[in-house]
């Protein structure tokens, strides 16, 4: 696996926020995308730390089984699932067990907790993953995807 300098970065959009995600392979791209989106909403690393230090915090597992026509569609569906898990059930994931992944299939078991607004860091309320300017490319054996999220 190629060493990746950063998993994701944000870029500017007047009203909303752009998210640029990187990966040395598909697995990295998908996991970094989930991390980048979750980090827009809260602080994933901090939640992971506080969860491991707090045995009473209930761990939640969710399995995602996604199929799509191509990589663009698959990544978009994946991000949509991460957003929906947060916005409907307040779930934040910090570990992923990838069971199957190619450009059209993703099966993954995600592990996380239920976000607590009283103790967990509140960043942005993400309304949606837009398709405006959305693209996924492979440059020099490295995946790069850009999306704009509505916040």
């Amino acid at each position: 696996m190629n060493p990746i300098v950063k998993p994701y970065e944000t870029f500017e959009h007047t009203a909303d926020t752009g998210l640029r995600m990187f990966g040395g392979d598909l697995r990295e791209l998908f996991l970094n995308a989930a991390l980048g989106l979750s980090d827009l909403m809260t602080n994933v690393e901090r939640i992971k730390e506080t969860t491991s230090a707090n045995a009473s915090r209930q761990i939640v597992h969710r399995t995602f089984d996604l199929k799509a026509e191509n990589i663009e569609e698959l990544l978009w569906l994946w991000l949509r699932e991460i957003l929906f898990a947060f916005s409907s059930r307040r779930l934040v994931f910090f570990e992923y067990g990838v069971q199957a992944l190619d450009e059209t299939i993703l099966k993954v078991q995600a592990t996380g907790v239920c976000f607590d607004p009283a103790t967990d860091e509140q960043r942005h309320e993400v309304k949606a993953i837009t398709r405006h300017g959305y693209h996924v490319v492979k440059q020099n054996d490295r995946w790069v995807a850009e999306i704009i999220v509505d916040i």
Partner: protein, 486 residues
């Protein structure tokens, strides 16, 4: 005169600029931008003018793709964009022309309190509001609604909230469309949207949503101000929120449905976020049925938020809301599609008017106005940023004739969120605003820096353009003294 920039603009007068149809192949109508020389450079700095030209491609679009002076870069439609389509001429409905936050809007309440009544205990009051009104990321509300009742409230509109004790019947008369769009179809709404609606009623949200305590600081039309019951120094309350996760999910679902149907109707759009379907197609009808549900949810949400604010004032000042004179002046939707009668080249047409970050501004005499405002025009509520001003204007005949009865919706962002945090450079925006007499309490990290006054255009300049263009008339200016943000 033409302006420099990627998108050519032909100047019509001090406040109007046209994007000629020749700019881009496939434009069905020209673009019409309301702006002056002062605002124009900011508009040129992002991709919003390109987006106006893209909107001009929509099938059945009538007269112009319009842009208000607070226009900025959106996705598909620009924010501050208006488009009317004719269903009799293959006109489409575009979920992106309404936006994710369906029926995001603003309401303005007056009080009988003066600034001198509030100022000595202002911080305590704002803390009380902040502690009572759920706001921020992942916050749920205390108003629990059963699955059965959700289906009722999205059909009944704000009348549902009033029946539950959140407000009084008089509030509905002072709400756009009486707080309810007819023909809402609960079966057109996905299970995911219902799931995202749970525990969200009576919550403010985050981002640019807010509740502000304001003071009337300038009377621009004394006669009309008197009719609104407003005088200098009087305290008002402004609430900005929308349909929460329910509306976001409906927009997302419908964008997918209409995107997949584009080839079926042989529609090609320059941007996939402009996905649309003919108004009378099954996909168009499904979106409209669901959008109306979200609009009705949003009116319930703002009605509940207002009821919570009234409760706080009642407890805090130990006086009844009636005694405090906390009447709703008006509630406007600024992300919505409505069917309205407009005269186009001498012919009356029934058009689908998309307002994406734009406010309806109907003139005096219009049949949809409440009795109290029939002779002065529809109240147009324009929030600014948390450090400058907000405005109350009224709609005009000029707006009816030229912009399908529409005006601007706010200041409009001038800076991205990232640039705003950089510009704040670690300074405490809260402290800076406090020094100006404004108490701001927010929940999210960086939220206040991202929403700082410098991140927005000056609302005074935006409102100046719509006033000079005659598409709304200034009545009263307010300034904030207390703000709660998610």
């Amino acid at each position: 005169m033409m302006t420099e920039g990627k998108v050519p603009l032909r100047q019509i007068d001090d406040c109007r600029w046209e994007i000629p149809m020749s700019y881009k192949k496939g434009m069905r109508v020209p673009g019409l931008i309301f702006a002056d020389e002062k605002i124009l450079p900011q508009i040129h700095s992002d991709q919003s003018l390109e987006q106006v030209a893209n909107v001009a491609h929509l099938p059945g679009i009538v007269r112009y793709a319009l842009a208000m002076p607070d226009i900025h870069w959106g996705y598909g439609f620009p924010i501050g964009g208006v488009a009317a389509t004719d269903p009799d001429d293959g006109g489409v409905i575009s979920p992106g022309g309404v936006g994710y936050d369906i029926n995001c809007g603003v309401r303005l309440l007056r009080t009988q309190l003066m600034e001198t009544d509030v100022r000595p205990r202002l911080r305590d009051l704002i803390v009380q509001l902040f502690n009572t009104i759920p706001c921020g990321v992942g916050q749920s509300g205390d108003i629990h609604v059963s699955k059965k009742d959700i289906r009722k409230l999205i059909v009944r509109g704000a009348g549902w909230a009033v029946e539950q004790g959140y407000g009084v019947a008089g509030d509905l008369a002072h709400t756009e469309a009486l707080g309810v769009l007819e023909d809402a179809d609960p079966d057109a709404v996905s299970p995911r949207a219902y799931q995202r609606s749970e525990d969200q009623l009576g919550t403010l949200g985050s981002g640019n949503h807010f509740l502000e305590v304001q003071v009337v600081d300038k009377i621009l039309d004394p006669d009309v101000a008197r009719k609104f019951g407003l005088e200098l120094g009087q305290v008002t309350i402004m609430i900005h929120s929308g349909s929460r996760g329910f509306g976001y999910q409906i927009c997302e679902d419908s964008l997918e449905t209409t995107r997949r149907a584009l080839s079926k109707y042989q529609i090609s759009t320059p941007d996939v976020q402009l996905a649309c379907a003919p108004v009378r197609s099954p996909e168009g009808k499904q979106y409209l049925g669901a959008m109306r549900c979200a609009a009705n949810y949003a009116w319930n949400n703002r009605q509940c938020l207002m009821a919570l604010a009234r409760q706080v004032f009642e407890k805090f000042f130990m006086r009844s809301p009636r005694d405090l004179g906390m009447d709703l002046i008006y509630d406007v939707a600024h992300n919505i599609a409505k069917f309205e009668r407009h005269t186009v080249r001498g012919k009356e047409k029934f058009l689908c008017v998309h307002r994406k970050g734009a406010t309806r501004a109907f003139p005096p005499g219009h049949s949809e106005l409440p009795e109290a405002y029939r002779d002065i025009g529809q109240p147009v509520i324009i929030p600014g940023d948390m450090g400058r001003n907000s405005y109350l204007l009224v709609g005009t005949q000029q707006a009816m004739d030229e912009t399908f009865g529409t005006s601007c919706h706010g200041a409009g962002r001038a800076m991205s969120r990232k640039a705003a945090i950089k510009a704040a450079d670690g300074r405490s925006i809260e402290k800076e605003l406090e020094a100006k007499g404004i108490i701001v309490i927010g929940r999210g990290r960086n939220g206040i820096a991202e929403e700082q006054p410098a991140a927005y255009k000056d609302v005074n300049e935006v409102v100046d353009v719509v006033h000079r263009a005659g598409i709304a008339r200034r009545v009263v200016r307010m300034r904030p003294i207390g703000v709660i943000k998610g």
